[in-house]
């Protein structure tokens, strides 16, 4: 089927809000090229479980496309229109399975060496649509706080090496009660500026108690049942002998209920947590990867104004099949390796924060847990500077928040 043959009734299988969104815009959707439309539907079909900023972006994207004349639209999407697609993709049920279509499209684009053309078309499209988006500053200057290095007694790795050019490195931080100070600061921000999914705390170990109800919070340990259920399904799927494409499809179709996350609680957050485990690579087995990926996805999708991350020791590397099988109840940990992972994870978190609106007013604080090293970045801090003056973590937190 081609987009021009699309009918509103074909969206009957979509969740309620997604159905209304798509069925109400059939005349627009009919005019979009096949190399583009299913990718848009892939976003629309999960509209009911999107975070507020994602919904706004999708609403804007559709409104923008509707506001263009047919000629302007064709021009905007010319790069997608030019893609050479095989008949099998036309025949695919891309209305109901846009995610699987996207996988097959990607495979086809790589195999026919069209991936660079697709990439260029996508970059142009996103740039144009974003340029027309209303500029909405965050409700308060954005702040990330990262605690890393739990259980590392001594360290010879030069920390914050990629972040140092962007802020002030402190070598004599008083570490007392540091994690509690960070937790309280995050809770205070959530209380002072409540916003749906606006304030997050993600822990790579077990979750610390924290006061505020306005804080989205979960940990690697809190998902232990979901991870075990997923690993069991992965093992069974593997043993059934299916190929990697079918394996990915199985993961993409995973519902929260299947992993024990389908309670009456927040459906949007449940879906998000499932996506961390099914779309992330390594998140199922390494807690450091889990925290970094959670931060990346939180910023990309929910755009919180407060993000507190705590990296904890991950299990030591073993053969992949054994890691997935979780044969050991208490795996051996690798605190030093985890510190290096987390150091890079902190850098990526800062990079992802700086991709969001209000980057010029955003702040970032990373602290070597229970030690005297920290680094602060933000409008109030010099770049590439060092301070050997004694300072309390309380003071640093106060200044960045």
């Amino acid at each position: 089927m081609l987009p021009r043959d699309l009918k509103a009734s074909q969206f009957d299988g979509y969740p309620p809000q997604a159905r209304a969104l798509a069925a109400g815009r059939v005349s627009l959707l009919q005019q979009l090229p096949l190399g583009f439309l299913p990718l848009l539907l892939r976003e629309i079909i999960v509209y009911d479980w999107k975070f507020p900023p994602e919904r706004s972006e999708l609403d804007h994207q559709l409104a923008y496309l509707e506001s263009r004349s047919a000629v302007e639209r064709r021009q905007l999407l010319a790069g997608f229109e030019k893609l050479r697609l095989p008949p099998e993709l036309e025949a695919f049920d891309w209305v109901n399975e846009p995610g699987q279509f996207s996988e097959q499209l990607t495979t086809h684009l790589w195999a026919t060496l069209q991936i660079d053309a697709f990439r260029a078309a996508a970059i142009d499209y996103v740039r144009t649509v974003n340029a027309a988006a209303p500029h909405t500053p965050p409700i308060m200057p954005r702040l990330s706080m990262v605690a890393l290095g739990k259980n590392v007694a001594e360290n010879k790795y030069k920390l914050f090496r990629k972040l140092r050019p962007n802020g002030v490195y402190f070598s004599r931080v008083k570490p007392e009660n540091g994690l509690r100070i960070m937790l309280d600061a995050a809770a205070a921000r959530a209380q002072a500026h409540p916003a749906p999914y606006g304030h997050w705390y993600v822990d790579g170990g077990s979750q610390e108690p924290v006061a505020s109800e306005g804080l989205v919070r979960f940990s690697y340990d809190s998902l232990v049942t979901a991870r075990a259920a997923l690993q069991e399904k992965m093992q069974k799927t593997f043993q059934s002998g299916i190929g990697p494409e079918a394996f990915r499809t199985m993961l993409a179709r995973m519902r929260p209920e299947e992993l024990g996350l389908g309670g009456a609680a927040d459906a949007v957050l449940n879906r998000f947590q499932v996506s961390l485990l099914t779309e992330g690579s390594g998140t199922q087995i390494f807690s450091t990867t889990f925290v970094q990926w959670a931060a990346r996805e939180a910023f990309r999708r929910a755009q919180p104004v407060t993000l507190l991350l705590r990296f904890a020791p991950r299990q030591r590397a073993r053969p992949m099949n054994e890691l997935l099988a979780e044969t050991q109840r208490k795996p051996e940990l690798d605190p030093q390796g985890s510190l290096v992972d987390a150091d890079m994870g902190a850098y990526y978190t800062w990079l992802n924060q700086q991709r969001l609106a209000g980057a010029d007013k955003s702040s970032f604080l990373v602290w070597f847990e229970d030690h005297s090293e920290a680094l602060a970045i933000g409008p109030a801090w010099a770049r590439g500077a060092e301070s050997s003056n004694p300072v309390s973590l309380q003071d640093l937190v106060k200044q960045v928040s």
Partner: protein
């Protein structure tokens, strides 16, 4: 030929911050090499298909996760058929099951009977463990890091355990005993490669290393460790070449990663973890050539492509890579 399946970025290797990870490449090998600083891979950025493209000199387009032979003739077939070389003169040592078809293409004019023998050391070790003790070796049995649970059906001319014992004159118990002291799958591959060099002294030997691809798990420390190990192993291979009478002073070595990894700056990726964006950093890598007739301590900054390798080997060894897409590199001829 030494290739890395699981590219390493400049940031963790040749840039100032990364140089601590590659002391052997920097201090021991580059001074003896012509170094191509910009080798751009324009094909599919999947390890098996990209390595197959290196071996054919053409951008192969098959499914990266399928156990299929390359479409075009491999360097091994060109070499053996044009120069009438025996089967034991061309070998591949590769890391995982997915690579078992890399020794021989599906091309009708070449293909069956003209390829290289393929040794998959991890598979051999797994077979050896069936008759030996098990748990002590599991660290060597890591497989595909991108799809850790997927192993395609084998089929091809890979060497089985009993053949290894015959061909390499290496008993299963000696093999298993030595494997026990090794730290990674790539160390196992290099150990097998050394055995091959000592026992058979093939003229054409292709070693594909794969430890660096642990980066897909998102653990930066393990990625750095793998780069450091790969650097050390490259140094060891070169030393071994110089210490074996059949090779010393008359052997060229080429080293290159199959491609790079995603940039930190591309929001569509996740930095070092993957090679999915197709951005310039993920496509760009380097190559070094060493040995007799190759200029030492020379850097070539012009663009080259990995498909240029096979025609270059053809020009060096005297075969015609007639179906490859690349061009011989004049800087090493």
């Amino acid at each position: 030929m030494v290739t890395f399946g699981g590219g390493a970025r400049d940031e963790e290797t040749f840039m100032p911050d990364g140089q601590e990870n590659i002391p052997h490449l920097l201090n021991d090998l580059i001074p003896r090499a012509t170094f191509f600083s910009q080798v751009v891979n324009r094909g599919i950025l999947g390890h098996y298909v990209a390595t197959a493209s290196l071996a054919t000199g053409s951008y192969e387009t098959f499914n990266n996760f399928a156990a299929v032979p390359p479409d075009r003739p491999t360097v091994f077939e060109y070499y053996r058929k044009d120069l009438k070389r025996p089967a034991l003169d061309a070998w591949v040592v590769a890391p995982s099951n997915g690579f078992n078809r890399i020794g021989e293409s599906g091309n009708r004019a070449y293909g069956r009977g003209w390829g290289a023998g393929v040794i998959l050391p991890k598979r051999l070790l797994a077979a050896a463990l069936a008759t030996s003790e098990g748990a002590a070796y599991e660290h060597l049995l890591r497989d595909n890091y991108e799809t850790p649970l997927y192993a395609p059906e084998l089929g091809g001319n890979q060497v089985e355990l009993h053949q290894m014992a015959e061909v390499l004159r290496l008993s299963v118990s000696d093999f298993a005993a030595h494997a026990r002291v090794l730290a990674s799958p790539d160390e196992l591959s290099v150990y097998i490669a050394k055995q091959l060099m000592r026992q058979l002294a093939p003229s054409l030997l292709w070693i594909t290393l794969h430890d660096i691809d642990i980066a897909h798990s998102g653990t930066y420390s393990l990625y750095l460790e793998a780069i450091q190990r790969t650097d050390r192993l490259c140094g060891e291979i070169w030393k071994n070449i110089q210490s074996e009478p059949e090779y010393a002073g008359k052997t060229n070595m080429f080293i290159l990663p199959d491609f790079g990894r995603d940039s930190d700056d591309d929001a569509g990726g996740n930095g070092f973890q993957h090679h999915r964006t197709g951005d310039p950093l993920s496509r760009t890598t380097w190559m070094m050539a060493m040995g007799p007739g190759v200029r030492e301590n020379t850097v070539v900054d012009r663009l080259a492509e990995p498909t240029d390798l096979v025609p270059t080997l053809g020009a060096l060894l005297g075969f015609d890579a007639r179906l490859s897409q690349g061009k011989p590199l004049p800087e090493v001829l």
